[in-house]
């Protein structure tokens, strides 16, 4: 039967139209409530706690004679958790063991520094999600941004200020180009953005590796594939003085967050992007151009991911390698999901993730735990947020009845 005669007769016909199940899964992930997000973080911390217990040597030793002296095991567990979470706090928020004020707040500044690229890239991904695009290519976009910015930074000598501005713009342009490619392929040829962006991540990676083998990018006197240092005129100034790593990029990221909010909530362009993301057929019927919206979205998302590349090359590491992106592009997906694609949420989620990462070294040194615990906690947060709708999509299960809206 033709699909256009869909009017079932009871209250079910008041529901939203049946949409593509992957698209629905994406929407549900994006729209999962703040409570779910909060509980996911709590649950991940608990699971992380269980892993900490198992990873702790004292616990394992005392567990061997658990039945003769169970008290030893419990106190070992308490010690393990106590030292793990306190060293995480000391490593990410405030170091209460430090002697100077600078030492006390240093972890916090480190957290914000690490959050900076995640805010940039997360904002871009969030805009993409809201416009209905599942952009997996932040990694490649970030890498291309870092390449453009770093090249401008080390290859030219320009006055301070202007040099930095050009390098930052270079980062945005590099990422935007890398976002434009999947955008136009989807708009003109219907190529699925997930596939194209994943592939472009590899293209970017090997392109950078090749570039670093060229004389123009190779650091003088080094055989390693690393670029020269970016000129000081192109580096982000440190905003709290030289003893802290926190740089101007963080403030730029916050400005971008405000810009992203204004774009999506207050501008006509953002209105179009939201409408296209939520219901492309209605948007088209209302005269919006879906292809143009797709391209614009990908260019903005790519540009922001490119700006994320400025954080390492202009802020912290200050030179280009093919590993400069780390796993930032993928962590940013988690950040965008966790922040429910809203700028404020993304900033908070990025700070959470920056904190988890900043706590890694302290966890290893002070609690003797593997840094990987942090990665596990991040991963379980993703699982808890993404899994219910994803599992429903995979097995075509209906959403729980209480989630269905019934019109009165």
């Amino acid at each position: 039967m033709s699909a256009d005669s869909q009017t079932t007769e009871d209250q079910r016909d008041e529901e939203a139209p049946p949409e593509d199940r992957w698209r629905r899964a994406l929407r549900e992930i994006v729209e999962s409530s703040s409570m779910v997000v909060f509980m996911a973080i709590v649950a991940s911390m608990i699971i992380g706690g269980v892993l900490i217990i198992f990873a702790d040597e004292a616990v394992r030793e005392s567990a061997a004679y658990f039945f003769s002296r169970p008290g030893d095991t419990f106190s070992a567990i308490g010690d393990a958790l106590g030292s793990a979470y306190s060293s995480m706090f000391n490593g990410a928020v405030l170091n209460l063991e430090a002697s100077s004020f600078a030492g006390v707040i240093k972890p916090l500044t480190q957290t914000l520094t690490m959050a900076t690229p995640l805010i940039f890239a997360g904002l871009g991904l969030g805009i993409g999600f809201r416009a209905g695009l599942f952009n997996i290519g932040a990694q490649g976009q970030l890498l291309m941004g870092a390449t453009f910015g770093a090249y401008i930074g080390f290859a030219f000598s320009l006055p301070a200020g202007l040099h930095l501005a050009l390098a930052v713009i270079g980062c945005a342009v590099g990422g935007a180009i890398w976002g434009f490619i999947p955008g136009i392929l989807k708009a003109k040829r219907g190529a699925h953005e997930v596939i194209v962006t994943i592939m472009l991540n590899y293209v970017a990676l090997y392109l950078v590796a090749w570039l670093l083998s060229l004389d123009a990018f190779q650091r003088e006197g080094s055989d390693n594939p690393i670029s020269p240092f970016v000129a000081e005129t192109a580096q982000y100034p440190k905003i709290l003085g030289v003893q802290f790593n926190l740089h101007l990029g963080f403030l730029l990221a916050l400005a971008c967050a405000w810009g992203a909010w204004w774009l999506m909530e207050r501008s006509t362009l953002g209105f179009r992007l939201r409408a296209v993301g939520a219901n492309p057929s209605a948007a088209r019927t209302a005269g919006m151009n879906i292809g143009t919206a797709t391209i614009i979205t990908m260019v903005i998302a790519g540009g922001l991911a490119g700006l994320a590349g400025s954080a390492p090359v202009l802020g912290t590491q200050k030179f280009l390698t093919d590993a400069v992106a780390g796993t930032l592009g993928f962590d940013a997906i988690t950040v965008a999901l966790l922040g429910r694609s809203r700028p404020l949420g993304i900033v908070l989620a990025a700070i959470l993730f920056g904190g988890l990462q900043a706590s890694g070294p302290s966890l290893q040194v002070n609690a003797g735990l593997p840094v990987d615990i942090v990665v596990v906690i991040q991963a379980t947060i993703v699982l808890f947020i993404a899994a219910p709708p994803l599992v429903r999509a995979m097995f075509r299960l209906p959403a729980p009845a209480h989630e269905k809206e019934v019109a009165a």
Partner: protein
């Protein structure tokens, strides 16, 4: 078999879809279940069929309480259901579809006994004059025949109670008459038939007993001799006029001229075949036809959603074919899409945002690329009041509104800018009687203010009520354009493809 429902209650969250419903269906009778969309008829039947569990109440067959865990149980007990959307496997033959789910096997190799199924189809088809070939492939059959296959499926499982859910929604008037004939034959053969519908004419034609449901409650029973007005008032809960009050049209200049418009789809099939007509300012041209005969393509080609492969459309002297949708909309066309949830509203956006979907970047809603939230909210409040949208506020999401209120949002948006032409596809599909009246009034008001109006509707009643002229479409062509007082039989024949010579108007 006698069916009795006692105090059936079914709730979805806070919403009570069925509220202590009692119903008795005697063998050998046609029991019509009449109610507006959303009244709870289908929920009730799904409870009976084992698809939903009732929260309270019980089902009795021949005075014995029964509990069904699923459709399988219900079928075994002798209840058959023909859904509004057919459950047929399109590449299979009639016989294969009929045996599906209870396949008989024969011989040591346990081969499917298709022969038995064919015999059964032939036997039932002859008994009730269905005229269905057991070897025909489903996708080659017209909709009416597919529906008869569904009935054969139910009867082949010895159903002594048959539930028909909105069976005539997709049929031509002639097919509808045939179906109603079949229903009478089934009744005379002793089958109990439950007919779920909101169409009063059908109820009057075949029902022995009528139960009217409103908002999940049985609000009364009526005799088949009751007038349409009486039945409609029972359904809606207040007096309703069935006619649209409108002055005779005062047609002005030609507003829209369509010349040889042709649309070929991606599969190479001609969906719209050289259609030509014109609409004058101040008149309503209604396009009648069974769904899927090119009406959708016509409206989409006018708006520019699908490109025209040949021909042109000219609005007030300006060619609109080959333009973008945005240009077409801004040249003065209002568009009410056929599928409002798919094309009309963005369910997750607020009412106020949905009201500016196609004018969001125009003054006063936007200034230099920035939205003007205050103006948007003010205008939204005005429109919500003018169009009587029942909502908790303008920030409620459009998806949480009822169908009628969603349609009012679409109309409020489309009618709130100056229009030269309004195109409305099935503007009242799925709406309750009250909303239908309102929508019709608005459309007529738009005509009287000097716009040309094109109404596409699968409901003949609506076409006749609104039209100043009627164009009938069949297989992508306009079979003829006739005056609105043309009798239904002639219209029905035209909808079935018979060419009509009287080219009036």
């Amino acid at each position: 078999m006698k069916l009795e429902l006692r105090g059936i209650t079914k709730r979805f969250g806070d919403f009570t879809a069925n509220d202590r419903i009692d119903l008795v269906v005697e063998p050998g009778t046609v029991h019509a279940l009449l109610g507006e969309n959303g009244a709870g008829k289908s929920t009730l039947m799904n409870v009976l069929f084992g698809l939903y569990d009732a929260d309270e109440g019980e089902v009795l067959l021949d005075d014995e309480p029964v509990v069904f865990d699923g459709p399988g149980d219900a079928m075994t007990a002798g209840i058959g259901m023909v859904h509004q959307h057919f459950m047929l496997v399109h590449p299979f033959t009639v016989a294969e579809n009929v045996m599906l789910g209870h396949e008989d096997v024969r011989g040591p190799a346990k081969l499917l006994d298709v022969e038995a199924a064919r015999a059964k189809v032939r036997e039932i088809s002859e008994r009730f004059n269905f005229n269905v070939d057991p070897d025909a492939v489903i996708e080659d059959l017209p909709v009416g025949a597919q529906q008869r296959v569904e009935i054969i499926k139910a009867l082949s499982r010895d159903a002594s109670l048959l539930i028909l859910d909105e069976p005539t929604a997709v049929l031509t008037p002639q097919e509808t008459d045939e179906l109603l004939g079949i229903v009478k034959d089934l009744r005379d053969a002793g089958t109990a038939v439950v007919l779920i519908t909101h169409k009063l004419r059908e109820v009057q034609a075949v029902a022995d007993t009528i139960t009217v449901i409103r908002r999940g409650k049985v609000v009364g029973t009526a005799e088949p001799t009751a007038s349409q007005e009486e039945l409609a008032s029972l359904m809606v809960g207040r007096a309703v006029t069935m006619r649209v009050d409108k002055e005779p049209a005062k047609p002005g200049e030609t507003m829209l001229e369509v010349d040889g418009l042709t649309v070929v789809d991606d599969a190479g099939i001609v969906q719209l075949d050289g259609v030509s007509f014109e609409v004058k300012a101040g008149e309503i041209l209604a396009i009648a036809g069974v769904q899927g005969n090119g009406q959708t393509e016509l409206t989409e080609a006018l708006l520019g959603v699908v490109p025209a492969d040949a021909g042109s459309a000219t609005l007030d002297g300006e060619v609109i074919t080959g333009r973008t949708i945005k240009e077409v909309l801004h040249s003065g066309i209002g568009f009410v899409p056929e599928d409002r949830t798919e094309d009309g509203i963005v369910a997750s956006m607020t009412i106020s945002n949905n009201l500016i979907l196609d004018v969001h970047d125009k003054a006063p809603y936007a200034k230099g690329g920035a939205l003007q939230p205050k103006v948007i909210a003010e205008e939204a409040r005005k429109h919500v009041e003018q169009f009587d949208v029942r909502a908790t506020g303008i920030d409620q999401t459009a998806g949480s509104l009822s169908g009628g209120n969603q349609q009012k949002v679409v109309l409020a948006r489309e009618l709130s800018r100056p229009l030269k032409l309004l195109i409305a596809s099935n503007p009242t599909r799925g709406l309750d009687v009250g909303s239908i009246e309102f929508v019709h009034k608005r459309i007529v008001a738009e005509r009287d203010s000097g716009a040309a109006v094109i109404i596409v509707s699968a409901e003949l009643d609506e076409v006749v009520a609104l039209a100043d002229r009627i164009a009938v479409m069949y297989h992508g062509r306009i079979v003829g354009i006739v005056p609105p007082d043309t009798d239904r039989d002639t219209l029905g024949l035209m909808m079935a493809g018979a060419h009509d010579e009287e080219e009036a108007a």
